[in-house]
Amino acid sequence: MLTTVVGSYPKIPNRPRPARLRAAIARFERGEIGEDELRRVEDEVTIEVIQEQVEAGIDIVSDGQIRWEDDQTYFARRMDGFTIDGLIRYFDTNTYYRQPVVTGAVQWREPIAGEDYRFAAAHSPRPVKALVTGPYTLAALSANEHYGSYGELVLALARELRQEVLALEKAGAPIIQVSEPAILKRKEDFPLFRQALEQMMEGVAVEAHLYTWFGDAEGLFPQILELPFSTIGLDFVMGPANYEIIGRAPFAKKLGLGIVDARNTRLETVEQIVDRIRRVSHAVPLEALYVNPSCGLEYVPREVAEAKLKRMAEGVRRAQEVLG
């Protein structure tokens, strides 16, 4: 049983700790500091949030997506074929992102997250998971003004993002997480989803995880187990039906077990965490579990994220004793 995160980590702490990244971005926007200075602050904050995850007891960390405005524009801004439009709500959260608009043929130009991965790995005592927003979700959260159909756009993105996965593999990432929350909102698209992910992962040898959040896998199970990933990440907080769903067929993969609510401040108890692990142990052996928050942690204040990760690691240790 290993602990991990699903991606984002709050970018700024609360008083009395200084909100350095917020201040640096504001100064950069006012032209008071240059890009180099902003990058330096991003580097420092990335190191800081890796340390926080490690100290909390996380086995596989992320770089906290400190440099990402959101999952969509981080890729859309660095590929050909996109422009960036106005603010739009991210699913049912009160968090907004600028919507990418596909205005031409989408094309991967050069590694997008490769340097970020190398930097994080060089500053982490634990393995760092690299993150790629999946083609289905990137298409679903963008506006399509170029391709004749949504399916064409999804498949074009799968082809181009495959280059990014290969680049991350080459950069040495031990695990690549492909994030696909949007498939939970349009499950009837599973055939397209499967085709896109099979294309994207063709010839990829590195350990790859497929993560979803904000819902359950009803209607996708057990087909989702046939996809070319070693681990399937599910949200058991917003998708409590997952407890029952995963028992319907032999779970022949590892499970990313999202059991700590990354959207609410209420701190889980150690007992609750142990109990939630126990509830899946009939379907998935403990050694096939990655225990993680239900989604990225940016929806809660920094101190809450830290406390939740600590509690999660504590719960996993206890579960190991009780159930192991």
């Binding site: 609360n14 709500r89 049912d92 009160n94 992102y97």
Partner: protein
């Protein structure tokens, strides 16, 4: 002559510079609460004066005492809510998200004093302004309740009590804002309707609601089930696309439609002709006596001058259309 095309605004007005400065000095402990309150009253009087001078029909107090529409109430519900740490909303913008920490209950009037003060300055009706229960809960963390439903219904009882106090104080119009109402319509729209019914129950005021940008199409015509007299939507921001929804499914005959004709995110004032065009296309589907003309949203993001210029255009356009159609304000 028939009446129609009443004008009002959605609620917030820009804060004058002296008030913005005073609010930050107050948060740093450099000035006291009384000093800040005096400046809030001064600014409120200016907001009332501006609306009278422009010639609006139903006034608002301008929300000079409020920062965030949820935190303002959360701060006063101190026995069951707290203000949490910073959470990013987009880009480099952060806000302090409130936390529900106990069973929600009304502790005392939250909006009445400022409403009463604003109403004392004018003969025109001033709207009471409340944040709706669904939005209050959706934009807060919840450390207490086990279900959103329980939290929303208790919050509805709190907001209801506040509406009762406004009615007692003499308010004839109360607006209950629900910008989060379309966050998860399939799952929760019935709950939002039930909550609104609790808010308005037994109160003899005219209730309005403002539903902000977002997936309006997902909750139309369902939104017509909200037990309010008037529903306001941001028409201008979508170039009056919502009219297509009304074409497909007529608006409720018992309800009024609030039509946003000013884009509050654009610095430039609309032209009179462009506003008139929006009004005329609305009147192809709705009789004027059931149409209210308003900006798309609160005006707090504009400068004072921009807000004034936009409102003057709006009122001018309404006057011209009224004249053309032979209707009274």
């Amino acid at each position: 002559m028939s009446k129609g095309l009443l004008t009002t605004t959605v609620g917030s007005f820009p804060k004058p510079d002296y008030l913005t400065r005073a609010r930050s000095q107050f948060s740093l402990g450099k000035i006291g609460g009384e000093e800040l309150a005096a400046l809030e009253r001064q600014a409120t009087a200016e907001v009332i004066r501006l609306q009278e001078e422009v010639g609006l029909d139903i006034l608002v107090h301008g929300e000079m005492e409020r920062g965030d529409m949820v935190a303002y109430f959360a701060e006063q519900l101190s026995e069951s809510m707290a203000i949490g740490g910073l959470v990013r909303s987009y880009g480099n913008r952060y806000y302090r998200k409130p936390i529900i920490t106990g069973k929600l209950h009304w502790q005392g009037p939250m909006t009445v004093e400022m409403w009463r003060y604003a109403q004392s300055l004018t003969d025109k009706p001033v709207k009471g302004m409340l944040t709706g229960p669904y939005t209050m809960v959706d934009w807060s963390f919840d450390d207490y309740y086990d279900s959103r439903r329980d939290a929303v219904l208790d919050m509805a009882r709190v907001i209801h009590q506040e509406a009762v106090e406004l009615e007692k104080a003499g308010a004839r119009y109360i607006q209950v804002d629900e910008p989060a109402i379309h966050a998860r319509p399939e799952q929760d729209f019935d709950l939002a309707v039930e909550a609104m019914a609790l808010v308005v129950e037994g109160i003899d005021c005219e209730f309005h609601t403002h539903i902000c940008y977002g997936e309006v199409a997902l909750i139309y015509p369902d939104m017509l089930r909200l037990p309010v007299k008037q529903i306001h939507l941001a028409f201008k921001n979508t170039d009056f696309e919502y009219l297509k929804l009304l074409e497909k499914h007529p608006f409720d005959r018992e309800k009024d439609l609030g039509v946003g004709v000013l884009d509050v995110h654009n610095h430039v004032a609309e032209s009179v002709e462009e506003v008139k065009e929006g009004i005329r296309s609305t009147l192809e589907l709705m009789p004027p006596e059931r149409v209210w003309i308003e900006p798309d949203c609160g005006l707090k993001t504009r400068t004072w001058e921009e807000a004034a210029a936009k409102l003057r255009v709006m009122v001018q356009a309404v006057r011209e259309v009224r004249r053309e159609l032979g209707i009274e304000g």
